[in-house]
């Protein structure tokens, strides 16, 4: 009883805190000073058509590096927690139900399309709504389909670890190139900005987003494989 009252009090308190945001808050008339600065400077300085990408990859690029590191730590945690030994499962594995014909056929058809779409999304991250994280998730869905269609199959751990390590190293290398050849760590102006809207433009932004996409794709695929629960 006491607990129910406390829960209701907490929810009502939270509702009171959120009320000014939801009611009579209106919407701001213009972006703040920092946002205005980003909107005006990003296309001119970096040549990115998508200002959000300019913020994520360049202006706040260090945050994104930290974010990728957090994602890596979480993947490592999931992989370490969900091994067969830790889960206390017997070493003789039970047979899984085979996937249906529909799922297997659809998977064969969709895998390459999904991977192509994922690559398209992260390569065009500086031009369109999209980028490394979104593209990486689309690639991971292709892996998920394959894991579902072939329940007995395993992800090639060596390949995944290789992709992840190489793309992480490439990310840091691109950042260091920015520090030595341009104005600071993760500065994309190592390569010329090019013309806004072209695929090859915005300096190293598409390269950085591509390695992020590969890394996120590999990490999420690792999480999906670990969640299957039959890792040694």
């Amino acid at each position: 009883m006491m607990r129910k009252i406390l829960v209701i009090l907490a929810i009502v308190g939270f509702a009171v805190v959120l009320l000014p945001l939801a009611y009579q808050a209106g919407v701001q008339p213009a972006p703040g000073a920092l946002a205005t600065e980003y909107l005006e400077k990003a296309p001119a300085e970096l040549g990115t058509a998508n200002v959000v990408t300019a913020i994520v990859v360049s202006y706040r690029g260090f945050d994104t590096l930290g974010e990728v590191a957090v994602l890596f730590a979480a993947t490592a945690g999931v992989g370490a927690l969900l091994t067969r030994k830790r889960l206390g499962l017997a070493s003789t594995r039970e047979k899984r139900m085979p996937a249906t014909e529909i799922l297997r056929t659809a998977t064969r058809f969709l895998t390459s399309l999904l991977i192509l779409f994922g690559v398209y999304i992260f390569v065009h991250g500086h031009l369109t709504p999209g980028g490394g994280f979104q593209g990486g998730v689309v690639i991971a869905t292709a892996i998920l389909l394959n894991l579902l269609a072939e329940p007995e199959s395993h992800l090639a751990h060596g390949v995944m670890t290789g992709v992840e390590a190489l793309s992480g190293a490439a990310y840091v290398t691109l950042g260091l190139l920015g520090a030595f050849l341009a104005w600071g760590f993760l500065d994309p102006r190592v390569l010329p900005a090019g013309s806004i809207g072209a695929l090859v433009s915005a300096g190293t932004v598409p390269l950085i987003y591509s390695v992020i996409g590969l890394k996120v794709g590999a990490e999420l695929s690792g999480i999906l494989d670990a969640l299957k629960g039959d890792r040694e």
């Binding site: 959120l18 808050a25 919407v27 701001q28 972006p31 499962l89 980028g131």
Partner: protein, 126 residues
């Protein structure tokens, strides 16, 4: 006060976000099942993301991407605030990783012979 005035004062995205946050909070506080608590965290997170996005939205403006609707010269007069969108992008990815980790802990506890109810773990009881 007029009902129409009241409705006009509601920011629809932030209001729905606030409702989702409250549902998530209720799930975290009132549900004993560990898996449901983890899901409640993701629900709450979705609500928070909606609220953050609504803060950066500006009526009548376009997405912060240069195209025919807004070129570099008119960017700051025609685009919404890009900063909350960049923050939410980060929050979604971190939220996904944290959810996966939470669920793995729940699976581990369950597989190790524990219960899925949070009540059976002494220190977490309240």
């Amino acid at each position: 006060m007029n009902i129409l005035e009241f409705l006009a004062g509601i920011n629809p995205v932030a209001a729905s976000g606030a409702i989702v946050v409250l549902i998530g909070l209720w799930g975290i506080l009132a549900r004993p099942n560990l898996f449901k608590i983890a899901i409640a965290f993701t629900i709450m997170e979705t609500g928070v993301n909606l609220i953050i996005l609504s803060v950066g939205y500006i009526r009548g403006r376009t997405a912060p991407i240069l195209d025919s609707a807004a070129d570099a010269a008119t960017a700051s007069a025609r685009m919404t605030d890009p900063v909350p969108q960049a923050l939410v992008l980060t929050a979604i990815v971190i939220g996904l990783a944290v959810t996966a980790l939470m669920l793995s802990y729940a699976v581990r506890l369950r597989a190790g012979g524990g219960a899925s109810s949070i009540e059976s773990y002494g220190e977490e009881k309240w």
